[in-house]
Assembly symmetry: C2
Homo-oligomer: 650 residues x 2
């Protein structure tokens, strides 16, 4: 049967399940990508697993998020990450090299491979004919350890591109058009696969722009074929040998179809404060701006900067405008210098920043209160810029540069009939030493992890006992969020690599004594908590499971769980139990003792679990809904133990 590119990628990596939409499938992962904000915990997880060496074909650690070093925490993290890559046989990209996604594309990406990354824009490398997906930190750690990733088989949405883009429009306008049509949840449950004659006029970096912002539609990922253009791109990177062709078979079908005629695209802009809030630039033309911002993984290419440089060439940006230039990679920055574009941007008033994510993830470059900021970045959620009352628009480099000249939102078509033609460098800069390559195994084995006082190993966790006697420490209502379990923010997040310290904030909003009370249960077999419906909604942070587990939490009894937190509880070996009868919630009080016997056997045999409330002697029935794989993880005491056991069995 003829297959599309996505089906080929999945079939060639399928280790379990069938390719029926909605079915759980296991996929072999060839490459991983971690960035520094999520990477420290991944490395600590690898340490806790006792990993000797990454089992992937290539795993790369990038430092691009926390590169403003206001105190020692970020540089200490960088040293730790570097030592971990040395230890585990991974690539290391140091601060200043640029944003993970374009750098990975340039130096590591290989068509036909799978890539799992602990960053939601990992999907950007779908432009290379890869299956590239974002995931949580521990999923990436498992992939590095050689385990498959498990996802629900998505539907595949074929998007046929036809025609060519008009003057003054570019790839960013294409993905904004798709967001205009389908908004920020329109892609949920789908992989977006692009095909058609329109691809001929979109180079690999243009496709990166489109694949990157597939994340904004909620799509599992976006996929492009590996065609002659990908071959050309790899040749510019002196990696032509990494190319293989990967295109859809003639007659391949999709679960859903869509067409975009590129010739009908016009300059578009996402208004505050959602990437789906798309209108034509014309509709908002004339609004004064404070900032025009070029860069990020959503417009990382040489052409994205060069076209802005051509637009402002021999001109001055409007007085008082902050015209921020964020180079996306060291190689591209060098090309911009060599081709004369960087000096042009500077002469026009550009403010050149270090290569990295910067303001795209709120690290610097916050706009003034209530002032309009035009950015080529992928997201404009409220406050993401760092400014509470922000007003961020997303647009193409053409629109941002044209607006920088006038000081107000400007349709670039007003600058003339013909857009500047960007000449790619005849021989783009390639730095084959850009990333530190993995050490040979014998040298790697000698490396010690470099941990500052703020980075501590994940404490060991025991496997699930057969019998639990758990005092109930908290009884809570419905809709408890992970922010109530363990807050985020500037007070707590600096301890993200330090479970011992961060655990002190656990449930502090609910009960300021929880930490002390919970800690006291650790040596006595732990404790339980109970709550109502939708427990664990909100942020996906793993610490909301890891920290309470460290404090002795063994079982959570609720009416229902939010999906991601449920997964995180399993990953860290906390029993996620739901009442068979919701009324049983009222039978338990905040100071009861729950006795659960024969848990291991009940789990293994797929039976419901029975808990006895000591004070009343009453029994209640609890469901778990674990798959076979999840049962194994739970019995082992969580993913880290599970993989350690497997490693022992290898």
């Amino acid at each position: 049967m003829p297959e599309n590119v996505t089906q080929k990628l999945i079939r060639s990596h399928l280790v379990s399940g069938t390719m029926e939409p909605g079915e759980e499938i296991g996929l072999k992962i060839d490459q991983t990508l971690t960035q520094d904000a999520t990477g420290t915990m991944v490395m600590l997880e690898l340490e806790a697993m006792g990993l000797d060496r990454a089992k992937t074909e290539a795993s790369a650690q990038y430092v691009d998020h926390n590169i403003i070093q206001a105190d020692s925490k970020n540089p200490d993290d960088h040293l730790f990450l570097r030592s971990a890559t040395r230890r585990f046989g991974m690539y290391y990209s140091q601060a200043g090299n640029g944003v993970s996604h374009p750098v990975h594309m340039q130096r590591i990406a290989v068509p036909g491979k799978t890539l799992l990354g602990s960053d939601s824009h990992t999907c950007a490398n779908g432009c290379m004919g890869m299956l590239a997906m974002g995931a949580g930190g521990i999923d990436v750690a498992m992939a590095i350890a050689g385990e498959p990733v498990y996802i629900k088989m998505p539907k595949i949405w074929g998007i046929e591109l036809t025609g060519t883009l008009p003057e003054w429009t570019s790839a960013k306008d294409v993905i904004l058009e798709f967001l205009r049509r389908h908004d920020v949840k329109g892609g949920v449950g789908y992989i977006l696969e692009y095909y058609g004659s329109g691809l001929d006029s979109l180079d690999a970096m243009d496709r990166h722009v489109i694949a990157n912002m597939g994340a904004e539609l909620g799509a599992t990922t976006s996929v492009f074929p590996s065609d002659q253009e990908v071959k050309r791109f790899l040749a510019t990177q002196r990696r032509e040998e990494d190319w293989t062709e990967l295109t859809a078979d003639a007659g391949a079908g999709y679960d859903r179809y869509e067409q975009i005629d590129l010739s009908t695209i016009e300059p578009l802009i996402a208004k505050p404060s959602s990437p789906g809030n798309v209108v034509t630039v014309k509709e908002v033309e004339g609004e004064p701006i404070y900032q025009a911002y070029i860069g990020s993984s959503a417009n990382p290419g040489f052409r994205d900067f060069a076209v802005a440089a051509e637009i402002v060439k021999d001109k001055k940006t409007a007085n008082g405008i902050s015209f921020d230039i964020n180079p996306s990679s060291r190689q591209i920055l060098t090309d911009l210098i060599n081709e004369g574009h960087l000096s042009g941007l500077i002469a026009a008033g550009g403010r050149i920043h270090q290569a990295g994510c910067n303001g795209c993830i709120g690290m610097g470059q916050a706009p003034a209160t209530g002032r309009n900021s035009l950015r080529t970045t992928p997201r404009n959620f409220p406050g993401r810029s760092g400014t509470k009352e922000d007003s961020v628009f997303l647009c193409s480099p053409e629109t941002a540069a044209a607006s920088a000249l006038t000081g107000k939102i400007t349709d670039p078509r007003s600058l003339g009939e013909k857009a500047p033609v960007v000449k790619e460098p005849a021989r783009p800069t390639v730095d084959v030493d850009l990333l530190e390559v993995p050490l040979p195994p014998e040298e790697a084995a000698e490396v010690d992890l470099v941990k500052s006082g703020n980075i501590t190993s994940i404490p060991p966790m025991d496997e699930l006992p057969d019998e639990l006697a758990l005092p109930v420490l908290l009884k809570m209502g419905d809709n408890i969020s992970t922010d109530e379990i363990l807050a985020g923010g500037a007070r707590v997040l600096p301890y993200r690599s330090n479970i011992i310290e961060i655990s002190k904030f656990t449930f502090e909003i609910v009960d300021e004594h929880y930490y002390d009370r919970a800690k006291a249960t650790v040596s006595k077999g732990g404790h339980a908590i109970i709550a109502g419906a939708n427990y664990g909604q909100g942020s996906s942070r793993e610490h909301a499971a890891l920290a309470p587990r460290y404090l002795g939490l063994r079982a959570v009894l609720v009416k229902s769980f939010a999906r991601i937190h449920w997964q995180n509880l399993i990953n860290f070996g906390i029993l996620p139990l739901t009442f068979q009868n919701d009324d049983d919630f009222s039978l338990i009080s905040g100071d009861d003792l729950l006795i659960i016997k024969n848990i291991r056997a009940s789990l293994q045999q797929g039976q419901a679990i029975t808990a006895v409330i000591q004070s009343s002697g009453k029994s209640i029935t609890l469901n778990h809904g674990l798959t076979e794989r999840q049962k194994d993880i739970m019995l082992a005491g969580g993913l880290i133990n599970w993989i350690k056991k497997r490693k022992g069995a290898d």
Copy 2:
């Protein structure tokens, strides 16, 4: 009588006093410089004074310190500063243009003129044959309003430079040699004037390096002649018409002499954590480093970056090293690009940051805990880098670049016999539009100040009444510091432009209820406080006077004052009184009421002030030690009122 350059500069600007060391002299100020960290308060003071237009020949506001925009506060400040420069007829240099000192030198500095700046490295422009001095914010505000600055006439220290520098040494090693000889207090009470044949081999930017770090010796300022080299420099800036010759007369003398034979200089380095802790690089060679850092006002020149680029050319910096490049000005950044140096630095592993002060003032680039950082910056006080347990060395660009290659402290002479020869650009980049020029008066008058919610006008203050009835709100011991009066740090400093908000932190360490108790006195004529000896030691921050004044503080009765805080109390109209008899301290308790009558007449007639303690009926005698000028300021209710009155009298 033959005069040296310093004497000529002072004589030509002298408006009061005589040029006897130790005498108070008043000097006309031609130019001012403010940076953003200190500038917001200066602009609020100008607003409070009711200034219509800057009375200087040129006043320039630079944005170079707070250019990391983590939230809206910094960009809001930038908008406010720009609006104030538009309103008051000043130059505005936007974020990204670079560090004030080199930019001022390039675009504004004029030989023979005086420059007062609210930045301690203002002295750097002494390299241009100027009298350039750092001062507190309100002194600079007064200068902008056309008032003289008052200083104690310093002694003049003639430093004769002979010979030429050996290979691999540069200007930074010269000033490090002077710091090695005299340490960080060796220059107190002096102006350092450089002369001699050694000047011929030091270009204007080399002299900038030396003049800049005169601040580290505690010198009032440093002065170089305006010679043919200054003429050449101005010509490269297309400002040759701004040049006038200014050299010492034949036979001119100095209060103190010193000689430095440049040919004996070797690569030097200041060890942690004082600029005076200087040894030869050889003595510390081999110590591993984390960071090598090029830039700042202490090494701002094209050659400082170019020589580093030549040293690392076609090589790679050691793995894991952070090789931070901080361009000092937009013009120099452009030259570095055009001459191929920037791409060389990047290829070697350099991390390019936005032009500005950056890590030199702890804004990013903090080193990892306990790791060695080699910097071309002027200061390495403990923690200044942002890292509490830092280990910062100060050195030349040659030493920093050589060490970046090896990953350990390296004497650059080990790289070969001959140092690279730096070729200056044939025609350096000049951007005549770099700074926004002052608006014409009629346009300026129409400009409104742009204030975010975090910037508030300085509240009005009344003049000194003739009779005070002041409850004593606090009785404190010896050595009360300004940190106890009003703390600095990240919790308080964000409100530096908001007297109403920042006043809430006043004396909070001493008495958490002071704010409420003090505020209640405002409508009833205010209050007093009493303390022991050395009151107001520590940081010079003006807010420690302005905030309590806003809360009703009218008189401070102490055994003795720290000098700068004493001055600040006068500037903001708080009576600084000392006990004629220290034993009277014990007569007053923490809840007494003090009655002071006929204050205005007593002050005017130079009499001591008598206060009656209401509870006991006892009289005590208090001294003030105010000069005639200071009496006028005190009677007016502080400098702001004083200048308003003068303006009215104009």
